[in-house]
């Protein structure tokens, strides 16, 4: 039963791949690779030991930038969301910084950190910080006032109120925000690597093209990016299913 569910989407992908393969193969000289060539490219990377190296490099940067952003943005966002004055106060600054693509920070990042890992981590941190902050602020503000009233009614002091009411109440929304932000982090790392560093999947794409028009590697890189991004997303979704976090979804 389960297998049949996958049959049609996989068949669809198969059709797309076939069309792609045929369309390209009709030209003897072609820049855009066929799916077969892409697979060959991936095999090539594995052979040279580059696949693992690049994937690890990208994941490493994502992890650092993302975790740093989570550790700083979530408590700060919860605190700001709790106080209406704080939210009023910080809102303009947040709203102006938010539409600035992390990539626009590249010159500044390179100025401060030079070309390399640190700059990439900084960019990922930037890309994740504000969305997480906003998610945390929003999560606190959407706690039904009733829960806070109940907490106060039972005599909870401020600290207890935070641990026993506020935190459990915001967790579902936070997790959704964490998932979306991880997706953002993955997008930023690829872009950052294309410009600011010398390893990683993003770098692979730029380098493969620049050093010899190896478009099979370029597309191989893209495919890998897509797959790993999807895996990261699925990974966090499985976290959402842990029962004690699930409470808000069963309400739907």
């Amino acid at each position: 039963m389960n297998l049949f569910v996958w049959l049609r989407p996989v068949a669809f992908i198969g059709v797309l791949l076939s069309v792609w393969q045929i369309a390209i193969s009709r030209h003897t000289v072609h820049l855009l690779p066929t799916p077969v060539e892409v697979v060959g490219g991936i095999a090539d990377l594995v052979q040279h030991g580059l696949l693992l190296k690049y994937v690890v490099a990208s994941l490493f940067r994502v992890t650092w930038g993302y975790v740093l952003a989570v550790v700083l943005a979530v408590p700060l966002g919860l605190a700001i969301g709790w106080s209406r004055r704080a939210e009023m106060a910080f809102n303009p600054v947040i709203q102006i910084l938010r539409p600035i693509s992390p990539l626009a920070w590249i010159p500044i990042a390179i100025l401060w950190f030079g070309v390399g890992d640190l700059a990439a981590v900084f960019l990922i941190f930037l890309g994740c910080f504000l969305p997480l902050l906003l998610t945390a602020i929003n999560a606190v503000q959407s706690i039904p006032a009733v829960y806070i009233d109940v907490g106060r009614n039972f005599g909870l002091r401020r600290v207890d109120l935070v641990y026993r009411v506020l935190y459990p109440a915001v967790v579902p929304q936070l997790i959704v925000g964490l998932r979306i932000t991880l997706g953002i982090a993955w997008l930023v790392v690829v872009a950052a690597e294309m410009i600011a560093v010398n390893s990683g999947l993003g770098f692979l794409i730029i380098d493969a093209r620049n050093a010899g028009n190896r478009y099979d590697l370029v597309v191989a890189g893209m495919v890998l990016i897509g797959i790993i991004g999807l895996l990261l997303d699925l990974g966090i979704r499985s976290l959402e299913r842990v029962k004690s976090f699930r409470w808000s979804y069963s309400e739907d």
Binding site: P144, Y147, D149, V150, G155, W247, S250
Partner: protein, 262 residues
């Protein structure tokens, strides 16, 4: 028609809660809306009092103020002689089932206020109240899997577990179907008779008020005043077909100005 003097409780019963000339005015962006107008009331220890009135008349506001969630614009509320300054575990507010915490099990919810007790005592109390409200077998269930009536019972259990002096109930059965409502009223009376807390209960349902309360405080529309306080002198269990019941109920109907025939 507002009551000139507060109803005097018989000398044998201590006054638990006293409302003295409370006015509440809401100020929103410059517009003042008076909600409660010169409310004075006394409630005796162990009494079951209903605040009855049409929706939006301010009775929930009065209840919230009594429980300490709101401050009166003028006037004072005293419980056991002390002025009310904020919410307190000695007087628990029972919200409609939406007050139940969805991230805690039934046990977790009931034990919520018991954090000061040693573990053994806590577990004993939780088990006791689970049984009292009839939720045995559901101890480890999460609220989203419970029915409306069960969630309501869970809230009552959670409130009772901390052994408060007073319970405030704000239309607790409003979201339930009428059959469940009848059952829940019986349950509530059963629990009240066992524990004899002072209960203040808000409702817009006349029958509910006459079935449950020792006294019914009939309130007018906004800005609310106390129109009348009716003493329900029928002992429990009340026969809802008895002439005295119907007489009292019709009296309130008439007071509110409702027609008898539909």
């Amino acid at each position: 028609m507002s009551l000139m003097e507060p109803f005097v409780t018989p000398a044998a019963v201590d006054t638990k809660l006293r409302v003295e000339h409370v006015n509440i005015v809401f100020d929103r962006d410059g517009k003042s809306t008076p909600v409660l107008n010169d409310i004075s009331l006394e409630v005796g220890d162990g009494e079951f009092v209903c605040l009855l009135g049409p929706s939006g008349c301010g009775k929930s506001t009065l209840l919230s103020t009594m429980a300490g969630f709101l401050s009166p614009t003028s006037g004072e509320i005293k419980i056991d002689g002390e002025a009310v300054r904020g919410p307190d575990p000695r007087r628990i507010f029972v919200f409609q089932e939406r007050g139940v915490f969805p991230w805690l099990t039934v046990e977790g919810n009931i034990g919520f206020g018991l954090f000061k007790l040693p573990r053994a005592e806590r577990e004993r109390r939780i088990a006791y109240y689970v049984k009292m409200v009839g939720l045995e077998g559901f101890e480890r269930t999460y609220p989203p899997e419970l029915s409306g009536g069960m969630k309501q019972r869970l809230e009552v259990a959670r409130a009772l577990a901390v052994n408060p002096d007073m319970l405030f109930l704000d239309e607790p059965f409003g979201a339930l179907d009428s059959i469940t409502r009848l059952i829940m009223r019986g349950e509530l009376l059963r629990i009240w008779e066992a524990e004899r807390k002072t209960v203040i209960f808000v409702t817009h349902d006349i029958d509910e008020a006459v079935q449950l309360a020792d006294r019914v405080v009939v309130m007018s529309a906004r800005p609310a005043t106390i129109q009348q306080i009716v003493n329900i002198d029928i002992p429990h269990p009340r026969d809802i077909s008895s002439p005295r019941y119907l007489e009292l109920r019709d009296g309130i109907f008439k007071q509110i100005g409702l027609a008898h025939k539909l």
